[in-house]
Symmetry: C2
Subunit: 741 residues, 2 copies
Amino acid sequence: MIFINIIYVRLHFEDSCLNPKVILRPMFTAISMAEKEKDLIPLFEPDSIAIVGASSKKGKVGNILLSNIVNSGYDGVVYPINPKGGEIYGKEVYGSIEELPDGIDLGIVVIPAKYVREAVHKLGEKGIKHTIVITSGFSEIGNTDEENLIVEEAGKHGMRILGPNVFGIYSAKAELNATFGPSDVSKGEIALISQSGALGIAMIGKTAMQYLGLSAIVSVGNKADIDDMDLIDYFADDDESKVIMIYMEGLENGREFIDKVESEIPPEKAIIVIKAGRSEKGATAVASHTGSLAGSDRVFSSAFKQAGILRADTINEAFNWSRAFSSTPLPENDKVVVITNGGGIGVLSADAAEKYGVDLLDDQTFLKETFEETIPPFGSTKNPIDITGQAGKEEYEKALRKAFESDEIGAVVGLYCETGTTDDGEVANAVKEIHDDFGNEKTAVYAFTGGEEVNDCIQWLRKNNISAYTETDDAMSSLGALYRRKRYLDRKEEMEDIDAPDMDIESINEIINRAVSQGRVNLLEDEARKILDLAGIPMAEGRVVNTLEDAVKAAEEIGYPVVLKVVSEDIMHKSDAGGLALDLENEKEVVDAYQAIYSNCKSKYPNAHIRGISVAEMLKGGEETIVGGTWDNSFGPMVMFGLGGVYVEILEDVVFRVAPISKREARRMIGEINAFPVLVGARGQSRKDLDALADIIYRMSFLMDEVDDISEIDLNPIKAFDQGKGAKSVDVAISIKRKVI
Amino acid sequence: MIFINIIYVRLHFEDSCLNPKVILRPMFTAISMAEKEKDLIPLFEPDSIAIVGASSKKGKVGNILLSNIVNSGYDGVVYPINPKGGEIYGKEVYGSIEELPDGIDLGIVVIPAKYVREAVHKLGEKGIKHTIVITSGFSEIGNTDEENLIVEEAGKHGMRILGPNVFGIYSAKAELNATFGPSDVSKGEIALISQSGALGIAMIGKTAMQYLGLSAIVSVGNKADIDDMDLIDYFADDDESKVIMIYMEGLENGREFIDKVESEIPPEKAIIVIKAGRSEKGATAVASHTGSLAGSDRVFSSAFKQAGILRADTINEAFNWSRAFSSTPLPENDKVVVITNGGGIGVLSADAAEKYGVDLLDDQTFLKETFEETIPPFGSTKNPIDITGQAGKEEYEKALRKAFESDEIGAVVGLYCETGTTDDGEVANAVKEIHDDFGNEKTAVYAFTGGEEVNDCIQWLRKNNISAYTETDDAMSSLGALYRRKRYLDRKEEMEDIDAPDMDIESINEIINRAVSQGRVNLLEDEARKILDLAGIPMAEGRVVNTLEDAVKAAEEIGYPVVLKVVSEDIMHKSDAGGLALDLENEKEVVDAYQAIYSNCKSKYPNAHIRGISVAEMLKGGEETIVGGTWDNSFGPMVMFGLGGVYVEILEDVVFRVAPISKREARRMIGEINAFPVLVGARGQSRKDLDALADIIYRMSFLMDEVDDISEIDLNPIKAFDQGKGAKSVDVAISIKRKVI
């Protein structure tokens, strides 16, 4: 099945500029979906490679690339192509693509941009299904049309394109370094995906220097075809990749990304993302709170957290965490023991433990029983366990052995401080021996503090696949990351399938379609009320009336006291306009208020279209909270919770989730705000009905998820009453997406 | 003048245990104050050294120490002392201290603990005024008496003691490595003081490995005599120390420390402290908010900040900042330009800039004019300025030159990312040449990202005293530290002398003395009211009455509405006891309330001593704030500010200062709380009277500072009214220090 797909997509961020350029470009892609190759194995494990633009001239990309391939130990067949022919690095050069044999797995193109499309065509004719276009000069400099044409050309042959504008790939499995970066790569279990070419190359060198072993490196560049999603598919199945580390600037389809991560990444693997661009100020101004906050970087953090993705702030942090995930298992339990030869680093490690959410075991009786025999006089069995500056190989080995043997201990942090008298290497040996004896069964991280010799020990431990760090803080931060992953997996396991609540989606859509057909983007109060009702979200009783008589009748039906409010999309600040009257206790007050509201609004906003007056139940007491729903450009429907007023607007004390979520998850959200104690009876107040609040959040998340056209819902405030007394929204505002018809 | 001093002091934290042990120990010190040597120059720059316990046996501390001294290039005279005699490392060994000549500057003792006192006596007899006691086994293991006796012995000879339980000192000026740590030390301008011996030794090696140049290292150990304060005195005057870096666990006399730092450390020097023990839970439970929060680690942070001390979280951070302070000047202005060859690291640097409070210059016209000529096609003059992956030596040199030449630019961040094609060394050369051309006049930090060769470039730049880092984040964090120091100095410069407010301290003390004499620790309401009045702090009008008649009379004088409240130190929760009545509008309500309060309290607390009923002005409206005063064990009088209720109790949104402070500083405190927008008209509210609030804080700070016996004052809430309408405290509680008589 062939079809023409005309869509607008957001261009990913250019590597060479700080802020993402959001360019809307038409993408004409004639792709044969059925024939499109899904399998990326030939990209990472090719039996043969054709290099279009291989060069004999040192320093040229086409030369470095070939040199790296030849020197990396790759044992497949390599076909350099260059019209000049001859031989480069012992490989016979082909004069043209046409001369190649059939059945080659991978093409790599390093010729000027204007010749790339023709080369792709010819490689396609030769039946090649995967091509890396290293060449730059396409969409990253505005040359988007040509890039699209290349992908279109590839599509004709069912060929997948990596790039353009990439530095290539490295694959440990194939012993293939097909990059023009450094030739030495340290082999291991971390798959590295970089959206930035320069940074990717720099990271190759950096990982090698730190003995951080890589299973693969891939530069995604302009992502004209193969993107993060495809790569996640591959690495999820790749046995040799235990950690997937991504340097990411933009993410068009965040929803798809996190869905894939959640469903494809097995528990024994970890995914660590450096998402750059935190400081970018949202470009779009959105009217209500939810939107304005959701547009921020917090949405990324929330969504990543929800999918068990660990977000690192710096490259260093990502490296540190990756090391731990690739060389030590997840902890079996929460209790951590620190073994140290120095009190100072012990104190620093305890500080770091608190900072990174690591729990130090503090059962003093157990600690004493376990470690008493192993520590010298003046040592301490308190945790951190101080085996003193006199400790050498024997003392470390004894103490570590005790810790490794105990099932009560979930993880071990081994700290060593150069003393001037101890043999550093012997201590490293003790660590290695323990790891040899126990296999890779106990979670353990180490930090060795000191000079050159200590550094050599760290490197040696790293070469032996032990998580050793130069900083106590780094070791503890990495252990914290392991625990975050463990806690995510525990939560995921216990998570029930999410049951959708009973909601009349069809009727809700009817209301929205009516508004759309009238060209409105904000629903009227009665429409919004009706939708909440259909969604099962409780709200203060109320109705919109158009006569004084109806107002009194409504008030009497609802029961005093009531609130009267003008209904008009032209009057934004209803209170300032005199369009609001609270706490009306009888007929007379309703009559006076009704007339006052009309005359105030008429005189202040003579041209406003007044649709009526809303008469509503006056809710007294309760704690003010806010639940919002918003449509994020990258992650789609989101739900937000916070306390009302200052908490949301000034302190930004809110939490987000990608919708939909279970009621249990909604309950968890409530617990995550800083001001949570307010809801459970802090300061002598009563405990609020958290269940009722969770139900509203849960329903809101499904409303956002199931009704496509809603862009935003703001329930502000929702009064949360005492436990068992429920929660009710006082006000509601619903916006719908602007349609370009 | 000789006198016997019997005082209780808190023992500093032991190196070998996590939590500080607070041991009260009697310290009998007979010291001749007049003769006590103040000058530490002979300690750091001795012409001659006697080593008691020098050893020929490899691996022994007395051997390593002598070896380090001999090999460090020290050109003074060295006298090893060992009863065995002979020669060690070419130095003639003396059989006893008695055999030494007179006039030796420095003694170092490395013999068993039990012989130390006698050695100190003999060294004193020889006229030695400075002795380092390396030997351990004193107060750190409970042997406090002997330690005190050693200090006493030293005092008899006017001798100062460093230690015991230290690893020695290193002094670049004297080319002296008198430690038993690593022999190689990198020479430079950072003075390192460590309270932890093990960590200190480890840091020597670590600094050497990173080419972080040291002017001195000193281990303070048990601080039996010489402490941080003495060392600050020395380093403040030492021309070769530009940065003072301290690893600190405990600080007994925080007040004295920050006063000294503020008055002695000249603007061109920086002081960086790693204060460990953040996670330590305060041991003392204090009744009211101020106390409970002030006991925390936040007090340290506040006090350090106030004195311009930079608090680092980790050793790495302290090293990074120290590097910047020792090799680049403080920025002239706030505007920073980033020059990069990679978009990825550019984005990361912009994120880091925001995180660390660094402002990127964003005048696009200026940037274009300045850099347009120097950047290649597809580069960007936006800041970060992207000179693209093609950039080599020439491009870096051009762009850096433009940035260094411009007075509009306060600081430059140079980033380089390994590209696979650029010569890393050439880029490092470009940086060096620019620094050679411009001298050390422009603030500049660099981060080079990549592998082994890039690392060599970083090390080479460091050797050339250029602030080069391995991480973009580290470079920006260090620049942020420079800016924090600059901003502190700017503030300090503009700071007026603090005028004390007009307060009747004598009368205040009289009130307190009366309470003390009656054995009370909490002042009665009328006493506390009177003190506020004498201090010029406005409070809701009120008085304590004992008859119904007086209550009515008081209410009429004050003016309705009023508040009635029981006055009794035995009834803590007055509201729960029915001891509080609000908003009383006339005589009848006052009469009813008066009687109700009496009967409620009598029936609920039959044994409570009721001192009367307070009749007070009912304050309506206004924003609730809290001002507190507290006495911190380390820093003395502190003042605290926050919004009321949840903000203080749950969100801990409060700020502290060491008292006293100027009104201007009080105003700055107000601006530092997260909820500050609430006070200046956020959410459609009116702006509150910040001046009146600042005046209360300012007066509170002087009240705490000038009245020695107050342990705590709690003004909660203080109603802050609209601008110009003032602020008044609703309630007051004052506690006085418990006296041990």
